[in-house]
Symmetry: C2
DNA sequence: ACCTCCAATGTAACGGATTACATGCTTGAT
DNA sequence: ATCAAGCATGTAATCCGTTACATTGGAGGT
């Protein structure tokens, strides 16, 4: 592999001049530039970015940490991040942490070791103290999930309000016994959505019943199982609000297998508006998040932070939307 | 940020000794090692890997290029790649190329610029000449999709045999008019699967009918549309073989909307055995690939190539399996 | 006491680029 | 003709580790 030295020698100039040509510096005479470009082509020269990165102390690489790549919810967020990142000259790399703290730390070392310029967390197993500590020295943003109290910027929807709106919708349709399929994780979204659920009931004068909250792992099977439990009860709920579309779709399967009609016998609401939510029968009422925008804003925040334009951690909330489909209302 | 110099000064040793401690070199006296470790802790020192990478001319990073991250088919392959990669001290980064050649080239520059040590392509828009050219200088592997004739190793299933088996299964069930929902792309798998389909018909003495092959984009909508077209015909097929589970599921929706029964009125076979294929009603007959193993083998190959143990490009085929479910057979 | 040898450690070159500063040359003013 | 200014280019320091080679000091042999 040719180095900048080789190019300089071949073009009969100094390495500084070659570097100037490479970096589009202004003060290079046209014929010199030509000579250099010819030499570059002749030698099939590719700059070794390890050298440049060392000197500049930046890599123009951004890491996006995903708890899992199997959740299609992240797809559009990543697209948004990529859009803004690439437009600003950054390469976006994704990492699958598998919600494993060790894995997360391996990838975070890349940040600490300066191999990447910044990171966006879609969810993290780190404590708020650990996050604050790293966030003090390295650019990072939390996206969708976040740790309250960590001194790291985040962007998210208002999960409390979203859950409130979904439950309110069910109440308006006349439902009084509304089952919730919540999450076993300790994410803030889970906590806030449960709070929104409770508040909506309270505001409607419906007594809260602990037995109407079951927990799942956000996947199809969890939803299926939880719904089955609800269905076995004497006084089964007439509606189910699941914390993810996947769980909602699982629940729908259980309901249909039982020979019941959706939404007549039991209404179902999901969360996330994944593509599949329109592919099932009946189509699923759900909460939609502006994922693409969320991605764009997360990357914007990160860019600002890397430029040092963020003095204080920012907390941004974006709008959500209740999308009413046939699973609650004909 | 502390540098190795700072650590050396604080520990009262030379940078070489610090480096030896960092790299677990043998010839460091125990008490010296202790001193250095104390200094490292005191200064909260993290080696700046840009320096190391420049010197060693390696980054221990591997890139996996995905045409899209929304296809859950890749999930387990990535898990396999990660398993083997992490175990060997490599960080795995995923990139979403969006099947865009330009995007692909941006990420490939990272390889050319030595920012990553090797790459695994899940699919590429590059020509076989371009692949061969890059493959001559940089470690890379093709996984699942590949370009015939490119001098780059690959691992895949035998798509011809898999399609043959699926169609044979339908024929054995008595189907004579079998529609195929193929792909508009120019991937080798598409070509080979069409060939397998034709050969199975031929071997069964069924005349090939060009009108029974429609093309789609591998997504739900394509399958839905293609199936609709089939359903409108006077002599509609009695079975559909789709090149992806997503298309098969889309087709199932169209069939059900038409009021027809699966598999009685129309049988459906998919490809990939994604998780959703068991979540639909009826569950989908499909071709299963050992995705996890494929990922492991791909990474193994890459490791060998990076070590220079591969003289010739390798072509590896792994077993597939026809999984018979209710969408073809009660 | 002297020499050899080896383990432990230090010194400095090196990897490939960027860039502050130095230098030389051209140009235009006087 | 002389000089200042300014542009184009070159020189060399620098980024931060790694590592070949040099050096030191102590143990063991005679």
């Amino acid at each position: 592999m040719a180095t900048i030295q080789d190019v300089a020698k071949r073009a009969g100039v100094s390495v500084a001049t070659v570097s100037r040509v490479l970096n589009h510096s202004l003060s290079v005479r046209e014929d010199t530039r030509k000579k250099v470009q010819v030499a570059i082509k002749d030698l099939n020269y590719q700059p070794n970015l390890l050298g440049r990165n060392l000197r500049r102390s930046e890599t123009k690489m951004i890491l996006v940490l995903l708890p899992t790549i199997s959740n299609t919810f992240y797809v559009k967020i990543v697209k948004g991040i990529e859009e803004v990142g690439l437009r600003n000259g950054y390469n976006i790399m994704l990492c699958d942490t598998d919600s494993d703290k060790q894995r997360e730390e391996v990838y975070l070392d890349l940040l600490k070791n300066k191999l990447i310029d910044g990171a966006i967390f879609m969810a993290t197993e780190l404590s708020k103290e650990e996050l604050s500590e790293i966030g003090r020295y390295f650019p990072m943003i939390q996206c969708c999930e976040y740790k309250e109290g960590a001194e790291v910027s985040y962007i998210s929807i208002d999960n409390f309000a979203a859950a409130y709106k979904a439950v309110q919708h069910l109440i308006e349709l006349g439902h009084q016994r509304i089952g919730m399929i919540s999450g076993t994780n300790h994410c803030i979204s889970t906590f806030q959505r449960e709070a929104g659920y409770k508040k909506a009931l309270e505001d409607a004068g419906i007594a809260f019943d602990d037995a109407l909250i079951l927990k799942g792992e956000y996947g199809f099977k969890s939803g299926f199982r939880a719904a089955k439990q609800f269905l076995h009860r004497d006084k089964r709920p007439t509606a189910i609000f699941a914390m993810s579309d996947m769980m909602a779709i699982g629940a729908m399967k259980a309901i249909k297998e039982r020979g019941l009609q959706i939404p007549d016998d039991m209404a179902v609401v999901g969360f996330d508006n994944i593509r599949f939510s329109t592919m099932v029968e009946p189509q699923l009422t759900t909460i939609s998040q502006p994922q693409y925008d969320i991605g764009c804003i997360a990357m914007d925040l990160l860019l600002k932070q890397m430029k040092g334009e963020l003095k204080e951690p920012q907390h941004i909330f974006v709008e959500h939307e209740l999308i009413i489909r046939k699973s609650t209302f004909k």
